[in-house]
């Protein structure tokens, strides 16, 4: 069953066409990896799903709700679609525990105790239970990103959106974040991931989409399309990434 559906979705920034009549249906449980050259529209596509970017044409349905359905509906969509950012964006004035408990408290309206219970479980899941009392500035980039994943999970979303989650990390810190993502995928979480990590795409992805000029240029099984790219442009791109 499809949980995200782009229907002739377009996005313009002034005269610039970033998404050009995209049709895309993502099913529950899929791990979709989005790749493409910079400016191809992959981040925009991801950010349209939770309405951080407003679509300018067509429609986009998330968990049965259209992103064009008004502010309240958009908030419902955002509760079902958690997002992890390239720059982590943890709240600097809150501890790791408070960052993760924030969503359950303010969005799901749990009590402080219940929210902290949820938060501790999730910090444990990403391997950071012992860092609960630390502020983001006291954590490494990889640890911050794992807290950010826990924060997104705390709202109990049905889909997780990852916008280049390891691009701001040193090579040795990427792995700990990718491991958490891999674990999520094995638990059956629906994921849409913008990344340049081709080995992750091959091992964890169930579907790979190559974007170019605001359109989906290739859509296939990761291992197949990475090993034998169906067109020259993608072959060219893959050579530059690896």
């Amino acid at each position: 069953m499809s949980i995200i559906e782009f229907r002739q979705t377009s996005k313009h920034f002034g005269p610039l066409k970033v998404l050009d009549h995209v049709d895309l249906s993502i099913d529950e449980g899929q791990v979709v990896v989005l790749i493409g050259p910079s400016g191809s529209g992959k981040s925009t596509l991801l950010r349209c799903i939770n309405g951080l970017e407003t679509i300018t044409g067509g429609d986009l349905i998330v968990d049965g709700l259209s992103v064009t359905g008004g502010k309240k509906q958009l908030r419902e969509i955002r509760r079902e679609a958690g997002m992890v950012f390239q720059q982590f964006n943890l709240f600097p004035q809150l501890t790791a525990l408070e960052n993760v408990a924030f969503g359950p408290r303010k969005v799901r309206k749990l009590s402080k105790e219940q929210a902290e219970e949820v938060a501790i479980d999730l910090l444990d899941k990403v391997g950071l239970a012992e860092k609960a009392g630390h502020y983001p500035a006291e954590l490494s980039g990889g640890q911050q990103q794992r807290v950010a994943i826990a924060r997104a999970l705390a709202v109990k979303p049905k889909v997780m959106l990852f916008d280049e989650p390891t691009s701001a990390l040193d090579p040795e810190l990427k792995q700990e974040v990718l491991n958490v993502m891999r674990q999520l995928a094995t638990e059956g979480m629906t994921m849409v991931v913008v990344t340049h990590e081709m080995s992750f795409a091959k091992q964890v992805g169930t579907r790979l989409i190559f974007m170019e000029h605001g359109k989906i240029a290739v859509d296939g099984h990761p291992r197949e399309v990475i090993d034998t790219p169906p067109n020259d442009r993608m072959k060219d791109f893959l050579q530059h990434v690896e």
């Binding site: 908030r75 943890l90 709240f91 004035q93 969005v107």
Partner: protein
């Protein structure tokens, strides 16, 4: 005429009463100025075009005219224009509210807009309405950055109260002027007045320093 510092002590009660009025005008004026300034600053930062335009006109009109003209307008022109008569004290307080409000608005706007957009997006992405993101996340961070420039404005406003001499409010400068007119002890009286101002601004600086130290600036 020789200087005789002992005259200061004769007039100290009067000077302190003047200082009390200065503090009174400053505190009430700044409390009002904070409310008005926060409102106008948020209107500038997040309001639609209409709210933005209203705040913009207010801020520019006030920043572009001297505070003496503003208080004269409130005290002398308003009664003629709108048949609203106010006493000098109220005019003085209102002048600080309106004047400080305009500068505080820009301080508030700057502080809020200086907070990384990514944090707002992170707040929105977990499903909070925008106003809650501002209240729980951006606001507390912006507040920390507000303190240093706000301290500046508080000191400026405190000293600006001396200009209300023009409408005859019995604050510290006016009191000094009146004493001077009766005994011509210019050196002693103006030195005392200056020192009392320094004590007031010094206290203010100290309070702000302590507040700043207690809060981690992020």
């Amino acid at each position: 005429m020789e200087t005789d510092w002992s005259v200061i002590f004769d007039y100290l009660p009067a000077l302190l009463a003047g200082a009390k009025t200065t503090v009174y005008i400053t505190i009430l004026g700044l409390v009002g100025g904070m409310v008005l300034g926060t409102l106008a600053g948020l209107m500038r930062a997040y309001g639609g075009w209409l709210l933005n335009a209203i705040a913009f006109v207010y801020i520019e009109a006030i920043r572009g005219t001297p505070i003496v003209v503003q208080v004269m307008f409130l005290y002398f022109a308003l009664p003629v224009l709108a048949d609203i008569r106010i006493d000098p004290m109220s005019a003085a307080i209102l002048a600080i509210v309106v004047n400080a409000g305009a500068y505080i608005a820009e301080i508030v706007r700057g502080a809020f807009l200086s907070i990384s957009k990514g944090l707002t997006e992170a707040g929105l992405a977990i499903g909070l309405p925008h106003w809650k993101v501002l209240l729980y996340i951006v606001g507390p961070l912006a507040f920390r950055r507000l303190i240093p420039p706000l301290g500046n404005q508080f000191i400026v406003s405190l000293k600006d109260t001396s200009l209300f001499i023009v409408i005859g409010v019995g604050e510290l400068t006016r009191t000094g002027q009146e004493i001077m007119a009766s005994n011509f002890r210019a050196v002693e009286i103006w030195t005392a007045v200056a020192i009392i101002y320094l004590i007031m601004t010094g206290t203010l600086t100290l309070i702000l320093r302590v507040t700043e130290k207690r809060m981690r600036i992020l």
